[in-house]
């Protein structure tokens, strides 16, 4: 097991150290200076732009997580109730779109929501509007659609697994004891599916926090996330220290969330859907 862990140390852990070091460098008109300085962090705290984009990122990630939860839970219930070949097929059909690149799965929304897209043309065809709606694309709302579309499997799957393990006799017993279906759901099914719910929420939240493709392609100017600001420091303004400092802040936030969730639920359960 040593080679595997060594690989992770060299390519996953040590680079984080490099990133931290670079975040303490200084960018100037003449290039990078390797003298230790807190300049980049000072820029982050002094310019409200960065606090705003971090806040917007967390808000978008949170809303995406809640939306995914709401649309995934009923589907997970549907899958858990199926039997035999129907079940295999239905689960496979949920999986298949997620096998392909999220660049493709984000791109598909351009011809859906653009001016000549399906939604606009359908609404014009039905006579509901007479000119294409522009705000379907390139807004914060579009980012929600894109992120939910790309990441919702990570919510559906763990909830489905925890519902699938649930013994249907428990629900029957609740019914025999006089519980209405709603009561049985609230008092029996929901509490037992919470490990799956938490695991799904953490995964979708983490993935959304680090999003770049979706906000870049669908977000326009109002739907930008921290990923776009970080990428810009490396691709356009060439300010490595500032990009590194922003990355360190994002990593700190994310690790904070995982740590809290991991303490409550256990890593094993969070990522492998196993009960302790």
């Amino acid at each position: 097991m040593v080679p595997g862990l060594l690989w992770l140390a060299v390519f996953a852990v040590v680079p984080l150290g490099f990133l931290a070091v670079v975040s303490l460098w200084k960018a100037s008109a003449f290039g990078l200076s390797t003298d230790a300085s807190l300049d980049s962090y000072r820029i982050l705290t002094n310019d409200p732009v960065y606090a705003r984009v971090l806040w917007q990122t967390l808000r978008i990630a949170l809303v995406t997580t809640l939306l995914s939860l709401v649309i995934s839970y009923p589907l997970a219930m549907f899958l858990a109730r199926l039997k035999g070949q129907h079940k295999t097929l239905a689960v496979l059909l949920v999986f298949l779109p997620f096998c392909t690149s999220y660049v493709v799965r984000t791109f598909v929304w351009l011809p859906m929501l653009g001016r000549a897209g399906v939604v606009n043309q359908a609404l014009i065809g039905l006579g509901i509007i007479d000119r294409p709606i522009d705000w379907l694309l390139y807004s914060e709302g579009t980012v929600y659609v894109g992120l939910v579309y790309v990441y919702t499997l990570y919510m559906t799957l763990p909830i489905y697994l925890s519902l699938d393990r649930l013994d249907p006799k428990l629900v029957e017993a609740a019914g025999d004891l006089g519980a209405t279906p709603l009561q049985a759901f609230r008092r029996v099914v929901l509490p037992l599916s919470m490990p799956g719910v938490w695991s799904g929420c953490i995964m979708v939240f983490l993935l959304s926090c680090g999003a770049y493709v979706t906000p870049q392609l669908l977000g326009g100017t109002s739907g930008q996330m921290i990923g776009n600001v970080i990428a810009a420091q490396f691709l356009h303004t060439n300010n490595w220290p500032l990009g590194a400092a922003l990355s360190i802040v994002l990593v700190a936030v994310v690790i904070g969330f995982v740590f809290v969730a991991g303490r409550r639920l256990g890593m094993q359960e969070l990522f492998m859907g196993e009960r302790r």
Binding site: M1, P74, Y102, V104
Partner: protein, 264 residues
């Protein structure tokens, strides 16, 4: 349990949400129109012709296949070593899982710039065979581990012990007893790992240098020029991923059946 009608209808809507955008892309890829959108103007294969006429797509596909094959095999081998090691009492056993999960927990955009900065600071060259391969193996490894570990974990140790009692060396036990039993799981893991690497974008974009993988090529196509053959390129990429993943599901289904037979 009976399926409530409302739940069935909801599932229909969910599948529509998943598949309508993809269906639209497929339809547009055959649409004989200069603009990427509606109304439809008739059937045409010219966008596929144009997509492949530019040699960039074929080059990018070749690069993605090469990186995918190497990355999936290396990552599966490394993950297998960790998973096998975890079955024994090792020091810091509890710390292994969090370390393996680091590449998943690290936000995508940060993973993207991590190796860009590190290779830059150390002075190593960017490119497919260096930074991209390293980034892909690192990204795929946790998933390979998460697929392999449960298979190995449930595995009946007494079969191995019996072989050892009969005088087999650890290597022979692995080659002749463990490997044949987990071979389908390994093959499935390599295939899933391949699709993960084949589709990887954000960890590739920064470190790929002047070379192109398929998702990077598609991205630049979208960003630089809204080429009308974009849907065709999307369909090609999707088909490859779905076929490889489909084989993966098939193999892993067989692996699960084999495991069930051994366990009983």
């Amino acid at each position: 349990m009976r399926m409530p009608r409302l739940l069935g209808a909801y599932a229909g809507a969910f599948y529509a949400f998943l598949y309508v955008p993809i269906a639209v892309m497929v339809v547009l890829s055959f649409n004989d129109s200069e603009i990427m959108g509606f109304p439809l103007k008739g059937f045409s294969l010219r966008w596929y012709g144009e997509a492949f006429a530019a040699n960039e797509l074929l080059g990018a596909l070749f690069n993605s296949f090469a990186v995918g094959i190497f990355a999936s095999i290396i990552a599966t081998a490394l993950a297998l070593m960790i998973a096998l090691g975890l079955r024994h009492r090792v020091p810091f056993r509890e710390a292994v899982l969090p370390v393996v999960l680091i590449p998943i927990i690290t936000p995508g955009i940060v993973s993207g710039v991590l190796l860009y900065v590190s290779f830059g600071v150390v002075g190593l060259p960017y490119g497919l065979s260096t930074a991209v391969l390293a980034a892909h193996v690192t990204w795929v490894l946790p998933f390979a581990f998460l697929t392999l570990y449960p298979r190995l974990h449930r595995f009946d140790r007494s079969i191995e012990e019996a072989a050892m009692d009969l005088g087999a060396t650890p290597w022979v036990v692995f080659r002749r007893v463990v490997l044949p039993l987990i071979r389908p799981a390994i093959i499935a893991t390599v295939l899933f790992s391949f699709t993960l690497s084949f589709d990887e974008f954000i960890r590739t974009l920064f470190v790929v240098g002047s070379q192109r993988t398929t998702p990077v090529y598609l991205w630049l196509l979208i960003a630089e020029q809204m080429a009308t053959f974009l849907p065709a390129v999307g369909v090609v990429i999707m088909l490859i991923s779905v076929v490889v993943a489909g084989i993966g599901f098939w193999v892993s289904g067989r692996a699960a059946r084999l495991a069930a037979r051994v366990e009983n």
